[in-house]
Amino acid sequence: MSKSHLYGLLLSILMVIAPHADHLPPWVSALCIVLLVWRSYLAWSGNPLPKRWLLMVITLTSLSGILIDFHTLFGREVGVTLLMLLATLKLMELRTARDAMALIFLSCFILITNFLYSQSLLTALYMLATLLVIVTSWVHLHAPGIAVKPRLRVAAVLLLQAIPLTLILFILFPRVPGPLWGLPQDAFARSGLDDTMSPGSVGRLALSDAVAFRVSYQGKPPQRAQMYWRGPVLWDFDGHTWTPGRATQGIAPQFSATGLTTEYSVTLEPHNKHWLFALDVPDSISVPARLTDDFQILSREPVNERLRYEARSHLTFHANLQESQAQLQRALQLPQTLNPRARQLAASWRADDDHAVVRRALGYFNQQNFYYTLEPPPLGRNSMDDFLFDTRQGFCEHYAASFVFLMRAAHIPARVVTGYQGGEYNAYGNYYIVRQSDAHAWAEVWLTGQGWVRVDPTAVIAPERVERGLSAALTDSAALPFMSRNPPLWLRDLRLNWDALANQWNQRVLGYDSERQFAYLSRFGLESVSLQVIYMTAGLGLVIALFALYMLRHLFKREQDKTQAAWLKLCRKLARSGLPRAPHEGPWDYATRVAIARPALADAIQDLAARYVALRYGAIQNERAQSEFIRRATKFGRSKNK
């Protein structure tokens, strides 16, 4: 085991365990690093490896560390931790080539565990690079004499050669519906809309530029001002926080479309809640889901994997023209004692009809000195009064909440709707990216003859928010994530390009589940499931067999020279006429046997055997004799065929 071998292995291990530092206890990574450094020092200084008992002590100590930390020896985290520690500890007793091989295989295995935590394109690229390093040290192990560059080339060629088989396996290997062994952590850790709203809750989301979902429209996308992605609908207000409340028995959702429809497909990032986002107001959706009384779409299971669905929405509509009394009553509930000034204001408008009240409320927001900001001052107990009359600075949730409050105070049924608004167009992939920073809150009021009508008070105070997005609407955008401000154009382009690529990755690679596989294979007429399995197995077997055959032939071909090839061809010809040569049968023995069996061929075959023996085993090599032999061997077959 030379030093360079060891450094290659050290690098492999380091690259393999590095991504795990993110989610494993710090002491594990620290211990691994210490072991790696220690091993490098031993290799560099030429000191002997540590004694067996010392390794045993370290192993047992880290094992008890795991027990203390995780309280178990099973599970994903513990498994990965154990593997990492064992791999680094194995380095400490690396003596023979066999140990190194074990380590290489172990590295490959640990590498795969990365996918348990993240399956992004970036992770995949990193893992590919790591695999290249591992294979390179593997190549080095088997061919110690090769310099670094050719070694890399051999490894790269090996990886390239694996591509066809990988693709075939990817397309044909039966998918297990649902995850096999738990989900990537990123399915859970995501932030997203909550089912409650209090001052500042949407504003906090605006600071995250994580992707909420991606949309591609079939046909012309709707106007930006119509892109209201409906999320949780909030009914109950306790003076500070809005909650969905307890649903009462309402009327089944009904609407009459009055104009445009749009169709689109959404790729929803996992958010671990039930909502599926759709444009107001959704008509159909391609995954099993339920439409609630207030037009939310809820999936049966929490969305903890990336989910793709097709949906159709009507952009202009009358929703629930007939609403149940219970629901309308619910939409009028207010905490009794709080916010007297706001109540007073609403009462002063009450003389007019409902439409005029809505107009006056919006006019109030428009004419008074309201200010759209991410950093509103804190509000007191009478939060609505404080906001409407004193601070007058707020984000969309403040406006939506206070508007709904005013409406209810004026006896107009109203509710808060949260969701997303707008999105960023990506010209490179022709789709829209909706980020957490596009989170929004607006209001809905129920008007006789019109049903539930969307009213967005934010659009009155900061119309840019709805028309052009958050960064256009905020004058003090310093608090926004860098990318939501106005980054240089090239950076924006780069980011959109990358997102388009990541989107392709999500759609085509990660999204290739059992259904898609089935759909894809159906295109080749493999509809029936049992037949599909048979075809798949047979096809895969055939491909592997052909590949193996090709490799074997390739291997043998390289051993043969032209003389031998001609001789073997001759033997095959004779074999077809019933005189096969045994693999171990020498040319002379064979010629003698053929001569006895076919006296007519005796002279020719013995002459050929003599020439072959002279060429292949003789001392003198002669090109003319070779071409003469090949000519005669070929002619032998032909004259015989006549």
């Binding site: 049968e585 020498g586 292949r616 003789g618």
Partner: protein, 301 residues
């Protein structure tokens, strides 16, 4: 093939009936500067083969009957005090002959056996501190009786390796046996044999064997055979590199006897049983078909 070599074979065949292959094997062994172990029952012509060869080739012949009380000095020789000259005079033992028949080599003690085997290996002996070279064609034919092993010291595997080939004589076929039974006394025939070759010519032929060409393709074949014995589950141990060298030199000698200047796979196959059968051990007990199985298992590359 040189004319004299042809004559040697012809004369030997006339004296030993029905054993042309054994004669050639022995000759190949001699030409490859190896030693021969004949393993067979008494009376099948082991001694005759040795005597005929020595007569035909014009080699000094010595025969040592190995017994349990044989001492190394009985083989190597001993210094005796001579009164006339007041000196110790070395009386060379039978080992100093050009061709030695070590009869029933497994009857002697390991000490006596090793005296012979060391001489075979070194082509020289050291007696009482003086190193004495052995004569220049130097060829040992040892015989071993495979049955009646009681009270014998079978040669250990490491010592068997010293013999280039191990062959069996086998019973003569019916026709040859008839000739044997009806013909003249063998001893008379042997006495009448004349040398067909000078020692110098034999040495030159031994040199010539080394010149026989071995092509890369043939080396591939020999290596494939060695690899097979090492990888196969049939054998307890694979063949050593020395066994590979032995295969090659025996095959070279065979090619020379066959009149060719290059080794072909058939040469390897024909000498293979003689060269490897005493160096290979199978897991199962079927030594006879062992080498044929080995040949059949390895394809000629």
């Amino acid at each position: 093939m040189s004319l004299s070599l042809k004559n040697v074979i012809r004369q030997a065949e006339s004296a030993i009936l029905g054993k042309p292959q054994q004669i050639r094997f022995a000759l190949a062994c001699l030409l490859a500067r190896g030693h021969l172990l004949i393993e067979d029952l008494p009376g099948v012509g082991k001694t005759t083969l040795a005597q005929v060869l020595s007569r035909t080739l014009g080699l000094q012949f010595a025969r040592v009957q190995f017994t349990s009380d044989l001492l190394p000095a009985d083989i190597l020789g001993v210094s005796v005090y001579e009164r006339d000259s007041n000196q110790f005079k070395f009386h060379p033992g039978p080992i100093f002959a050009q061709m030695i028949l070590a009869d029933e080599v497994n009857r002697a003690t390991p000490k006596a056996q090793s005296a012979l085997l060391e001489a075979m290996e070194e082509h020289q002996v050291t007696i009482e501190g003086v190193t004495r070279p052995l004569p220049a064609p130097f060829f040992v034919i040892a015989t071993q009786n495979p049955s009646h092993q009681i009270g014998t010291f079978p040669l250990p595997e490491s010592q068997l390796d010293r013999f280039l080939m191990r062959i069996e004589m086998g019973y003569p076929d019916a026709q040859a046996e008839r000739g044997l039974l009806s013909g003249v006394d063998r001893r008379e025939i042997i006495a009448k044999l004349t040398p067909q070759m000078e020692s110098a010519e034999l040495l030159a032929l031994q040199q010539h064997v080394k010149q026989i060409h071995v092509s890369p393709a043939l080396l591939d074949y020999v290596q494939a055979i060695l690899r097979h014995t090492r990888e196969s589950a049939h054998y307890t141990h694979g063949l050593s590199p020395r066994a590979g060298l032995a295969l090659l030199s025996a095959a070279r000698a065979w090619a020379l006897i066959d009149g060719r200047d290059a080794v072909i796979p058939e040469d390897v196959q024909i000498i293979l049983p003689g060269v490897v059968s005493h160096r290979l051990q199978t897991i199962a007990e079927h030594q006879h078909s062992l080498t044929q199985e080995l040949i059949a298992a390895v394809a000629i590359p």
